[in-house]
Symmetry: C2
């Protein structure tokens, strides 16, 4: 009986858990013993059918042992790959407007206000608290163009215990940015990105780099060539993550083609902005050549199904991307998406994929209406929200397995005031499907990040 | 100052409320005085800007006066126009299967079990409780083929205070029904429908007919001509509501065309099953002639956007139906839809309409991809879930207005553990939009039906 790992144990947890080992395969383990290390990682899992289960369990009595009841299920904490932090007060608002009005009348005037850290602070505090409560343990954030407010967001994530990757937004193209919300001095803006990266890395309590800086050209139309070139160099120098919007809508996709004679993906690659550390938001209009390039560079895609319904003019070809084994996760795209919940994103990833498969216009012949085999199931949605997001970020998160961080949520399936209903003949896969479809915030009774309970 | 209605008052409520006066127009009234009559109806509304507001308020001190705080908002109770009661335990389960497997492996074997009232009772109790807690004050139910369990559902609705229209399902076509879940004697089955109607109308505590029986051919494929003919005669004799599925999917639509050489709508009309009292579920594949016939007969449509994504092969042409001023409301279609919440149905009605407008396949040219102007907004979704459903059923429900039943829900917009976030500069229309998009069950703190608090 191996006892070598005992000195590293911080805590032992006994619980049922689900985790995705591939887009098609979900693993279920009842009443496993999860040994949480002092480093915040799962250092050993003893399964219930292990011959030494009882012996280990007896041995673990020297540690704090938390035992969850049969109707509680651990899931990996969800990973939100695309969210605009300053748009938080806009959640669920003005989505009846066309995109241009939504941006000009609401989004840009709101983002501009984050010049004030005092304005930003209570909003970011509420946002981080809410996202954690929804089971989102890691977020890849767009903030605004403001360094102080972006640093404040980093501090808040550290205080509240959320794992975060935060990008101070870069945008300097006067043709496409509002007059009063733009970086007018490109060189200074680039220096600010370097300073921001250094400042985040040096933040107190950030020794494990739980919060990381991200290079963030808003999207190609809002950046000058100089800006894109400079950000590519910073990516090379600092080994930071990169995020941007890519071929989101007809307009944005065409803009890139008109300006560079190539797709957003190819342009980003040529500027040194496409690598294993890049996350492309949306990518709805990408070509087969883009797919190949993304695969070659091992970049990731943030699929945002809900906001796509509102603003993208089409559905991301998810099935095709999964078949090519790209790195893909889900984004809420708050506030282009109205829900802060990745359970909601899972549900919309499924409905979007069904719409793509079957088509939508009943006036068109059935055979001509949709594309072949585009639909995904709850299993693939669950994979995307957890493991897929973790792999896309190349971090040891999104799965409940040894050597991964203990970032998890605990689902109560017997909450008395709940739409989540488990009946006696439901098998574990039914239970997970029901969790994906009907979990509301109140079913998420605990959330842990890096071995610490944060909700 | 009119005091004539005072003797009829049961209770006075002071609250903010939203109500839809048309698909495009939402009315907001702050701190109105709602006089609830002994008949369960709103017998008088005094608005805050009424010159006599303060005088009336003083006068109402002789009654119980409930005053809701500023951050509470009354909405009309929602009307669910399509829900399969016996499928309740299947909520959120097995939706990864194709329709045929979903029906054969799960739905029919489950529905069959309602031969036992003891099996049905706890499920129906849980369902009615849950739906009320989600703000659904009226439901048009499909039950199973079993009279005793269907009557038990009626009793439970009466006990728990839900307004309900309940259809014992009719299905006798051996070619399309499972061997072990079918009515083998059509004449006896027709007599059972007559008996069921009479029994519901005579139920104790049903003096106001808050629970009504509904004639319910499952859908054309599952009924013989004799059955359809007989049900049409019963509709004529009893003046009951009628409900059925209509042109839901490619297969069902084609089945009707092959069997009768005409659409489901035309067939139902010829059997005497299309009238002001009919609700057609889905109707995704209906033609312009069908639209005209539905309009002429003043029948209603239950739009079920979520289950359509899973099983209907296309999106209901909602905008076109609204333009022709048809009677339309929303259905959750539990368990083909995984959510019991009509807020969720509102959200999916919007995303479905956006998908229809823009199309889904990014590989198709933008101009060729979608249909013109199909998108609806939160206002139209709210109308559909409330007023639209009430009008479709021709009942005095779904709006907060004089002479309508006091069927309402109370939304708390400051629940401490909520995804619904109101900020200081949100106007009333922003607040309603946020309510539609992010209300979860816990935000619904009270529900009233016919002047009685039921949650």
């Amino acid at each position: 009986m191996d006892q070598s790992f005992l000195p590293d144990i911080q805590l032992v947890i006994q619980a049922n858990f689900f985790t995705a080992s591939s887009p098609q395969e979900i693993l279920f383990y009842p009443q496993a013993l999860l040994c949480i290390g002092k480093n915040g990682k799962i250092i050993r899992i003893i399964h219930h059918d292990d011959a030494l289960y009882d012996s280990y369990r007896a041995l673990f009595k020297q540690f704090t042992l938390i035992q969850y009841p049969e109707h509680h299920y651990l899931l990996p904490g969800f990973v939100d790959l695309h969210l605009h932090a300053p748009q938080w007060p806009q959640l669920g608002k003005a989505l009846d407007l066309p995109l241009a009005d939504w941006l000009q009348q609401h989004t840009f005037p709101l983002e501009k206000k984050y010049a004030s850290v005092e304005f930003a602070r209570p909003i970011y505090q509420d946002m981080v608290t809410t996202l954690l409560a929804n089971g989102t343990t890691t977020v890849l954030y767009f903030s605004s163009i403001h360094t102080p407010a972006s640093l404040e967001l980093a501090r808040i994530c550290l205080q509240k215990g959320q794992r975060a990757l935060i990008g101070k937004v870069s945008m300097d193209n006067p043709e496409q940015c509002p007059e009063d919300y733009i970086e007018t001095d490109t060189q200074q803006a680039l220096q600010e990105v370097r300073d921001f990266i250094e400042a985040v890395r040096q933040l107190p309590q950030n020794e494990t780099q739980r919060v990381q800086p991200v290079i963030t050209p808003r999207f190609i139309p809002s950046c000058s060539d100089t800006m894109l070139q400079g950000l590519g160099e910073i990516a090379q120098d600092t080994d930071c993550h990169v995020q941007t919007h890519c071929s989101e809508s007809d307009w944005a996709h065409q803009y890139g083609l008109d300006r560079y004679g190539k797709t957003d993906t190819a342009t980003l690659n040529d500027f040194g902005l496409l690598s294993r550390k890049t996350i492309l938001a949306h990518s709805n209009k990408i070509t087969q050549e883009d797919f190949s390039l993304i695969k070659q560079q091992q970049a990731g895609i943030a699929h945002c199904p809900l906001s796509n319904f509102y603003f993208a003019n089409c559905v991301f070809p998810l099935r095709r991307a999964l078949e090519q084994q790209l790195h893909i996760g889900l984004g809420t795209d708050v506030a282009g998406g109205h829900s802060p919940s990745l359970f909601n994103a899972c549900q919309h990833a499924i409905t979007a994929s069904k719409a793509l498969q079957d088509g939508v216009d009943g006036g068109i012949e059935a055979g001509q209406r949709g594309t072949q085999e585009a639909a995904i199931s709850y299993k693939e949605a669950f994979w995307l929200a957890s493991a897929g997001g973790g792999i896309a970020l190349d971090l040891a998160i999104g799965q409940i397995r040894e050597d991964f961080y203990f970032d998890v949520m605990v689902i109560d399936t017997q909450h008395p005031h709940s739409n989540l209903k488990i009946w006696p003949d439901d098998r574990p896969e039914d239970i997970l499907q029901k969790i994906i479809y009907n979990t509301e915030r109140q079913n998420i009774i605990e959330v842990w990040v890096e071995g610490q309970k944060v909700v």
